[in-house]
């Protein structure tokens, strides 16, 4: 490939990223405008909360449980080498609450709920259902996007709090089994060193992650073209862009909020 073609390809990719970033930004603005004062469909919100929050609970809890177990197994060598068993609770809590919990659960949420939302809205778009709503003078942003946005933010916040708790319980059980760190030592070191600000940071991060997954999935879903293959493309773009956005937002939120 020649230099000119490479530059053209890079330029096209840059333009595509700029277009998608701009598109999601515009959509976010439209969503926020409809939140104050609230203009959305309450029934659709309840349906979304049930599907995105409640029905995701089991898979999120399972993921969090495994995260806690793996965390202790990985930490075992170092904790044992430096004789830091009494600090296992603090270490597990710090990593889980501030970083691993929100990020891993957001990635899981993006794969399950974000992909589903992109596929659902993409299918509605290519089968003219979204235009059908417009013909009934129903604003698709208020009816489809805002309820999904609220449901994803609220669900991911709640699931992250629950997931963090489950991960710590599994870490304490695993610590007891393989390192013989008793429950009292584990939880004492955790509660002494981890404060409400850490939990607050975790919740803020999960809210931001929920918002970007929601905006990404709705944007790619509603901009789907090209029939059924286009839906697949939208789902793929949603998962990839959400994962990248989660890491970027994680970096900045950690940098700013500490």
């Amino acid at each position: 490939m020649g230099l000119g073609a490479s530059i053209a390809q890079m330029g096209a990719a840059t333009l595509a990223v700029a277009r998608e970033t701009g598109g999601t930004g515009v959509l976010l603005g439209r969503v926020l405008r409809r939140l104050f004062p609230p203009r959305f469909d309450g029934r659709e919100l309840r349906r979304c909360l049930l599907r995105m929050g409640y029905q995701s609970l089991s898979i999120m809890v399972a993921t969090a449980f495994v995260v806690g177990v793996i965390l202790v197994i990985q930490a075992f060598v170092f904790v044992d080498r430096y004789g830091m068993r009494s600090q296992l609770g603090y270490g597990a809590g710090f990593v889980t609450i501030r970083e691993l919990g929100p990020v891993l659960l957001a990635l899981m949420f993006s794969g399950r709920v974000g992909a589903y939302t992109a596929a659902e809205l993409g299918t509605m778009t290519v089968t003219d259902q979204v235009d059908g709503l417009r013909c009934l003078a129903i604003d698709p942003i208020s009816y489809l996007v805002v309820p999904r946005f609220i449901a994803m933010v609220v669900s991911l916040m709640a699931l992250t709090v629950i997931g963090n708790a489950v991960a710590l319980v599994s870490a304490s059980i695993m610590g007891d089994i393989i390192m013989e760190v008793d429950q009292h030592t584990f939880w004492t070191s955790l509660f002494v060193m981890i404060g409400p600000s850490d939990v607050f940071l975790s919740v803020i991060k999960s809210a931001l992650f929920g918002a970007i997954i929601a905006v990404n999935s709705c944007y790619f879903g509603l901009s789907t073209t090209g029939g059924a293959p286009g839906v697949g493309v939208s789902v793929n773009r949603t998962v990839v862009s959400s994962a990248v956005a989660v890491f970027v937002v994680d970096f900045f939120s950690t940098f700013v909020l500490g």
Binding site: V126, T127, D128, D131, G132, C135, L136, A137
Partner: protein
């Protein structure tokens, strides 16, 4: 009722309508024919207010889309029933809920009245007994009928049907077109029908328009259209004429 003047529309730089002009009088049933990709569906979308013209004037039911505010456009859209090519049925709703939905959103009727009217329209399209089914349990022809019932349940002054016969067998296709003609006869709506069932369309329409290359090349009464000697019309009708021997318009 519908006046389009020198409408230009392009999608991602590709022209879809190139100076299209069309007048449809109140109560007419205009059949729109033309080769694939000629702009028939885009024409329907312009009339429905779903696609904004890059230039030109679109006046539908007295509302000029190019100068209308969002509120005025929405008010105009409420006066138009649209049957989409893909049915656009809400898959999580039953047949009854799909047909009730426009009434729920656009009228102040109470639930029993809404359901009563929806059931009437479901029966009118021959689907009585199917009210509780989900759309994915229906055949293609049945889905079209539900879409038709939903499009006309509010008795809109304008009804747009974007290829309601696509992919259907000839018998079902003719039944759907007859239903559309019946609806127009009963309600007095102005109806635009895009269809690839040319013969069926000629049998129910009051006028026929040929869309070709993003323009209306010919717009005539059905009788006048058959007499047209315009090259594109003759070519299109020759291509569309049916593959059995001895076939004639009469």
């Amino acid at each position: 009722m519908i006046d389009l003047l020198d409408i230009h529309v392009s999608h991602d730089g590709v022209p879809a309508l190139c100076g299209l002009s069309l007048h449809v009088g109140k109560g007419a049933l205009l059949g729109i024919i033309g080769p694939g990709g000629s702009g028939k569906s885009t024409l329907c979308r312009v009339v429905a207010g779903l696609v904004h013209a890059d230039s030109g004037v679109a006046i539908v039911n007295g509302v000029d889309y190019s100068t209308a505010s969002r509120r005025e456009l929405q008010a105009a859209q409420r006066q138009i029933g649209v049957q989409f090519q893909n049915d656009a049925l809400f898959e999580h709703m039953t047949v009854l809920d799909n047909v009730c939905y426009p009434l729920t959103r656009l009228t102040t009727l109470d639930r029993p009245a809404i359901e009563g009217r929806a059931r009437e329209h479901i029966a009118m399209v021959g689907l009585a007994g199917f009210e509780d089914r989900l759309p994915n349990r229906l055949s293609g022809g049945q889905r079209r009928r539900v879409a038709l019932a939903r499009a006309c349940v509010t008795d809109p002054p304008i009804l747009l049907c974007d290829d309601p016969t696509a992919g259907l067998d000839p018998v079902t296709s003719r039944q759907i077109l007859d239903m559309i003609a019946g609806i127009r006869y009963q309600s007095g709506s102005t109806v635009l029908v895009v269809s690839s069932d040319v013969v069926g369309l000629f049998s129910v329409s009051t006028r026929i328009a040929l869309v070709w290359g993003g323009k209306v090349l010919e717009e005539e009464t059905t009788a006048g259209f058959k007499q047209s000697r315009r090259e594109e019309v003759v070519r299109f009708l020759d291509d569309a004429r049916l593959p059995f021997a001895g076939w004639s318009w009469d």
